[in-house]
Subunit: 510 residues, 2 copies
């Protein structure tokens, strides 16, 4: 007799559903079908109704504690409880980035094609690190497409990551291995001696993930060099050259310079070619962090700023920022992928392929071994749905919204535009209110968030805490820009009063 | 007039669908609803029909090249092409781990509740690194539940990761920061001097991700110490002590020892308490890599081997291995989470919360900043559907299957059981065939894979390449065990002939 765990496919459709205690983790096929369809119906309704609700909703401490502290029940639950739980406890309390009036950080809403892909890839459940399967070849294809959009040369390789922070980590580790291997310092006392002298350079406006990744790969703070930026927040090549020269004179080993394409605070693009030239002349790796702005070469209005991008050594891009692929989908692109393999190829006896592989495994380009296929499929689906023209049209739409928002801010009495661009962001301040302007801006952001009709955050620009609105939501319209301005003015008019205490609103049932 | 990008919600249901060139990336709500439901219907049918098809299917070089090389079209495609593409080009060519007769590596099929959660979390698209939203509190709750199942103390914290490799990386970086900070070597020349003397210890059967993570955090190969294992593949505490003592005598700095709970090759569990005792006595961190076997304390039959687990410093677990959560879902659990925050808390001005947070951000426990909520929701859904009893019943089912498989191998003329356990795996060899046994086992695995009715891989056990079958699929039945044995015997009877050349079969249309 067959010994069988209660199974997905064990009971033909149409028979009675077995009782719950025999269903774990198997599920009657009809129950599974009905729950999948119910979830799909709910998702479509949720996405359609989202703009009508508040951007975000405060959660009561009790509700938050319940999510953190509820113990796992002894017995399992029916499959339908997953959707009930999301509808009642999760979806009403989002980050807010699905809503058209969300302007904080660089967080996009999910693309429809990407959502469908998440479902399909979850069911296929491939593991994309080793051996062969269709999703691994698709990942190689999406890497190639991203490289092409970014203006990198033919033959560029790379790997998808959970986001920009991981891509930056892989880049720094690759640069370090490349640098030490060339010096014959890949191991032994030579490694110890040289590793302790490595120095890293990045613009003062670089994303904090660069310094964080440096700490993770074993570079202490005293060997990190934030380089001054110019009046437009771009890394100063002359200052970079001076810092590198000083370190070389001190017997240190400059191994990598990081430029930023689309700084988080103000959307600036660092100069590319002068940094590449310096890197070539002193034997450094040039990594560009384009988590937000890495695909600028695909947009005619931005392309001149990306001249020479084909000469860099590695590039971070974040399709979950620029292209609305569901989180998390980042990528590291490397024109000469052999450098990536040198840093990350490790084998073990249980990973010997039965047949010789014609292509390097994807796990040989990253830290991960068992890797999700969701990133590749969601990225492919989103790109395929957009098309090449759709990619540039989408980014141009954000540029146009940002230009309009900056114009509206400049025209609005009581507001002053401070910075922003070329990537679509506006940093601005409230004028004529007296008191501590930094504290005022923090309170205004709090009030706007609490009112629930729009959402923006603050940022430090040249030492002052100011308001920041980012445009990376394809559902945002000019009406939402007007709404944001109204909300900011309204919150500013409340002056220096503390923001209201907001109680949890009744949950919105989608 | 409102300036609006063609939008998801811009056209009320019932109106004519706008032409494709105006739909990108917006989609008519009815089109989105229909495509989501079609995808859900397909997924349920795919999962039900999966056991009737082959485990895996070879892909023609042309088909593979098409996935890698097709350029992105200029214009976008209809949303429905995503499902068509998956049905025809992706799903027929899987890793195979969804099929009940797949026995390679440690790759599970996806849990139904996890698949539904992937869809829902993709639509909510939260970013789980900073600020507040419901999925972040849920992630904290799932970490707490995993810690409880694993037998770690109250107050244990941690973070979800893409898998075990990332969790091991975070663990080593945390151990390094803890060790250097205690010595006052967190930066400056003291860091450089001490970092160059750090040494790391792990059993010779540890997963290769440990050495790979060590390389990534800046430890060269000459300071890594694989420690001999005993006749049951377990790390030898006496050998560990001898290695640590020798390094201390040489002026090196032993900072971390890694035990493995469930080795990949044979399922062994390293001794826990003796390693903790040694770590305490010399000031080392004890990290346990339980990617496969980290939840053994929740299973009565295994619990005695996990005595003292509450005393370790960190634990890797992989819910995408043990619990069938869709890939990728791993976790690092840390009894004193302050150590994790010391290693990973970085702030930037654009990340200043408007309101003081009551809890540390999840990005302060990991490399990632923008982080997916899919891991937390898919893990919660799978756990909630199983219940606490379901978790132990599931693992016990695998233990029972492995015991039966080992018995069948032992009873089968022509096969010899070599190793396996306590975690559910069987390593075995073919007897009486003459010639090079290593090459024979590689060819037998190739033949079994090519026939498409079952799938297993090889592994090196005490210097010999042998066959390995792992039990981590809740759809596997005893019939599948008999099938595997038949397939292996059949392939072995073909002796030393080269395996057949397999052409691509017609794609199976689900």
């Amino acid at each position: 007799m067959t010994h069988r765990f209660p199974d997905l496919a064990s009971t033909p459709c149409g028979e009675a559903t077995p009782p719950p205690d025999q269903m774990l983790p198997g599920v009657h096929p009809k129950v599974l079908r009905d729950e999948l369809v119910a979830a799909a119906e709910w998702v479509s309704q949720y996405l359609s109704s989202l703009p009508a609700g508040p951007v975000s909703r405060p959660m009561s401490p009790r509700r938050r504690a319940r999510l953190r502290e509820s113990p796992l029940a002894r017995t399992g639950a029916e499959l339908g409880e997953v959707l009930d739980f999301v509808r009642e406890e999760i979806a009403p309390f989002p980050t807010g980035n699905g809503h058209p009036a969300f302007f904080a950080w660089v967080n996009s809403p999910p693309a429809p094609a990407g959502i469908i892909a998440e479902l399909l890839a979850g069911a296929v459940n491939a593991t994309c690190g080793m051996g062969e399967n269709a999703l691994m070849d698709l990942e190689r294809g999406t890497v190639r497409t991203l490289a092409d959009l970014a203006g990198l040369p033919d033959g560029t390789g790379g790997v998808l990551t959970s986001g920009g922070s991981m891509a930056n980590l892989l880049a720094l580790a690759t640069a370090r291995t490349w640098f030490l291997t060339r010096r014959g310092s890949g191991d032994g006392p030579a490694y110890d001696r040289d590793h302790a002298r490595l120095t890293l350079y990045y613009g003062a406006q670089a994303h904090m993930s660069v310094a964080k990744a440096a700490a993770c790969i074993g570079l202490p703070a005293h060997r990190l060099r934030p380089i001054p930026t110019d009046a437009h927040d771009r890394l100063e090549p002359a200052a970079l050259r001076a810092a590198v020269t000083a370190d070389l004179d001190a017997g240190l080993l400059p191994f990598c310079a990081v430029t930023t394409l689309g700084t988080t605070a103000t959307g600036a693009v660092d100069p590319i070619e002068p940094v590449t030239d310096l890197c070539r002349s002193v034997g450094m790796w040039h990594h560009a962090d384009g988590a937000w702005g890495g695909l600028g070469a695909a947009v005619p209005a931005l392309a001149p700023l990306y001249r020479g991008i084909g000469g860099i050594d590695s590039l971070t891009v974040d399709p979950h920022k620029t292209l609305s692929v569901p989180v998390g989908c980042g990528a590291l692109l490397v024109p000469d992928p052999e450098h990536l393999h040198t840093a990350f190829a490790h084998r073990a006896s249980y990973l010997t392929a039965s047949e010789p592989d014609t292509l390097p495994w994807l796990s040989h380009s990253t830290v991960e071994l068992t890797r999700p296929g969701t990133r590749a499929l969601a990225l492919w689906a989103t790109l395929h749905h957009l098309g090449r023209d759709g990619v540039s049209t989408l980014i141009e739409y954000y540029l146009s919204l940002a230009e309009q928002l900056r114009d509206k801010i400049s025209a609005q009495p009581g507001l002053e535009l401070l910075a922003g661009g070329p990537w679509p962001v506006a940093c601005f301040r409230i004028t004529h209110h007296g008191g501590d302007p930094d504290a005022l801006h923090v309170r205004v952001a709090q009030r706007v968030q609490a009112a629930g009709r729009a959402y923006l955050a603050t940022v430090s620009v040249r030492g002052h805490t100011v308001l920041r609105a980012c445009l990376c939501n394809y559902r945002t319209t000019t009406d939402d820009l007007d709404l944001l301005i109204r909300e900011v003015i309204h919150a500013a008019d409340a002056g220096h009063q503390p923001p209201p205490v907001v109680n949890e609103r009744p949950a919105h049932r989608q």
